[in-house]
């Protein structure tokens, strides 16, 4: 049991980097970006291929980060310059990335078993595999939280946040909303690819299929974090993203422990997200109906 929780927490921390990326598009820019499903694989593919090719794992991880930002750039250009709806733009890039990822890996998967990764530096010190994931995943995501907190407090970051809220107002203040969307989508997918690179190194392989369902996992984690920590200060909200990613993994580990078969996992996650997304709407509708009833009673 302890081992299961440990593995869940460490996996959650590696995924929390992806969830931070999803936060940038879904919460800040207010779009659902499906590029994620392709850019997580892109990050994994770039990192694994480079490591296999003898490159420094840290350099490979950074390269994955930049590769992801290019994927984000493509989606952003499709959306802002060619006026393709955001959802569709993400689907197009995701689809194209499938082929790109196969080309990067030269096959459907790349194994880096027994090749040093970014985690090796830690395991060489004698700590366990999971401890290495927790140390590195935790410090990367904490660092990113502070970086994002700083960035969204700057003039540029503020303009990006405003773009996700009210584009009319932002244009009236002389800000190019297209540029803001581009920067936001590039940051988001860079983080997602970075997460993919870390995940690939933790599991010692990259696989072209590993992105499937990742956007829903990201959303589920966001929701879990929001439910548990609420919508407080920006810094707390960012921290709740990490928290949500970890708790989500723990929940999954527990339901598996209680006998859910892995094949049902995606169904379970989809239902959870559906319920969480519809609760505000349903409770508002119920309240409204109750209100109408009260009003009728007075008449």
């Amino acid at each position: 049991m302890g081992q299961i929780l440990l593995s869940a927490v460490s996996l959650g921390l590696l995924w929390s980097v992806l969830v931070l990326g999803v936060y940038v598009t879904y919460k800040v820019l207010d779009i659902a970006d499906l590029t994620v499903e392709g850019s997580i694989v892109l990050g994994a593919a770039v990192a694994a291929s480079m490591i296999r090719g003898g490159h420094n794992p840290a350099a490979a991880t950074i390269a994955a980060f930049f590769a992801g930002s290019i994927a984000g750039l493509v989606t952003a250009v499709l959306h802002t310059k060619l006026k393709i709806p955001a959802l569709l733009a993400g689907i197009l890039t995701m689809t194209a990335l499938w082929s790109v990822n196969l080309r990067v890996m030269n096959s459907a998967n790349v194994s880096i078993l027994r090749i040093p990764t970014v985690f090796t530096a830690f395991t060489n010190l004698g700590v366990s595999k999971y401890a290495a994931w927790i140390i590195l995943g935790g410090s990367v995501s904490l660092l990113l939280v502070f970086a994002l907190y700083w960035f969204f407090g700057t003039e540029l970051g503020g303009a990006i946040r405003a773009t996700g809220i009210n584009k009319n107002m932002v244009r009236a203040q002389g800000i190019n909303t297209d540029t803001m969307m581009i920067i936001g989508l590039m940051i988001s997918n860079a983080l997602v690819a970075l997460s993919g690179a870390l995940i690939a190194q933790s599991q010692s392989f990259a696989d072209v299929q590993m992105g499937m369902g990742s956007i829903v996992i990201g959303l589920a984690s966001l929701i879990v974090g929001e439910v548990l920590l609420g919508r407080r200060f920006f810094l707390v909200r960012l921290l709740s993203v990490i928290f949500g990613a970890v708790v989500y993994r723990v929940i999954i580990a527990l339901v598996m422990e209680f006998g859910m078969v892995p094949n049902d996992l995606k169904l379970f996650t989809a239902i959870t997200v559906t319920v969480a997304l519809s609760v505000p709407y349903i409770s508002a509708a119920v309240k409204q109906r109750a209100g109408a009833r009260d009003g009728g009673g007075h008449a």
Partner: protein, 265 residues
């Protein structure tokens, strides 16, 4: 200051729904002019302001602001010249951001957004003072979300944002139409105060004839995408609602008998 020449703008061109919104309107506005704009529904008032602001490009014609040809300039690139307040109180502010963040966004209108901290300490002091002048108690709520404010408070804030960085031209499109009469009056007085204070040039669209007469030094009446009445100075001062009605009927004909223009308030 603002020079509009033979501006034509149609919507849904080449379809059965084609609508000529601006029909070759020409206009010269001098520095310091405070122009009130009236006209029936669909007269083209909003379209004129939106063309000046660059929300959409005109089909033909020219727009000059201070001798700079802005006709083909994108909306965000000409924002440096313009302060704008919209009819919808939701439209001028970012609801999920704080009052000071909104002000800071407006305070940098037309400048490059850098990686500097978005609100500097000295700015905060200035915002506090300016908010205090609104008399709405907002000076103690710098870090409140704008979404929590009432419509009137939001319009007052938007007005402050529009003038924080002195614009060459202030564009107001029925900015008090969504407010209750008393709040509308407050916001209108504030508008006049700001315009006088910084000697702003302004275009103010209104559906209220009395306000159109009471405010500004010049009055423009639009109909079918053209300016049909343009009076300024003393000639405007002596106008009364009845005169406006007569002018309106003469230029626009009987078809307007049922228009909402007839409601003086």
């Amino acid at each position: 200051m603002l020079k509009v020449t033979k501006l034509i703008k149609s919507f849904n061109r080449g379809t059965p729904n084609e609508k000529l919104a601006l029909d070759g309107i020409s206009l010269v506005i001098r520095p310091g002019d405070f122009v009130t704009v009236i006209g029936g529904n669909g007269a083209g008032k909003s379209t004129l302001l939106n063309c000046v602001a660059g929300v959409f490009p005109p089909d033909s014609g020219k727009i000059l602001i201070d001798d700079a040809d802005v006709t083909r300039l994108s909306e965000h690139n000409r924002a440096k010249y313009l302060g704008r307040v919209f009819q919808d109180p939701m439209m001028g502010t970012a609801a999920d951001m704080t009052i000071e963040e909104n002000l800071a966004l407006a305070n940098r209108r037309g400048t490059r957004r850098t990686l500097r901290w978005q609100i500097q300490a000295d700015e905060r002091k200035r915002y506090k003072e300016m908010l205090a002048e609104l008399n709405l108690g907002l000076e103690d709520r710098l870090t409140s979300r704008v979404g929590l404010l009432s419509g009137g408070q939001r319009q007052a804030l938007t007005l402050l944002m529009a003038t924080l960085r002195v614009p060459k031209l202030l564009l107001l499109d029925e900015h008090t139409a969504a407010l209750d009469p008393k709040t509308a009056e407050t916001v209108l007085d504030l508008t006049e105060k700001y315009i006088k204070q910084s000697a702003l040039t302004a275009l103010m669209v209104t559906h209220n004839m009395r306000n159109a007469l009471r405010y500004g030094n010049r009055l423009l009446m639009m109909h079918n995408g053209r300016a049909v009445v343009d009076v300024a100075g003393e000639a405007k001062q002596i106008l009364e609602v009845n005169d406006l009605m007569r002018l309106f009927e003469r230029s626009a004909g009987e078809e307007l008998a049922s228009d909402r223009m007839l409601l003086a308030d």
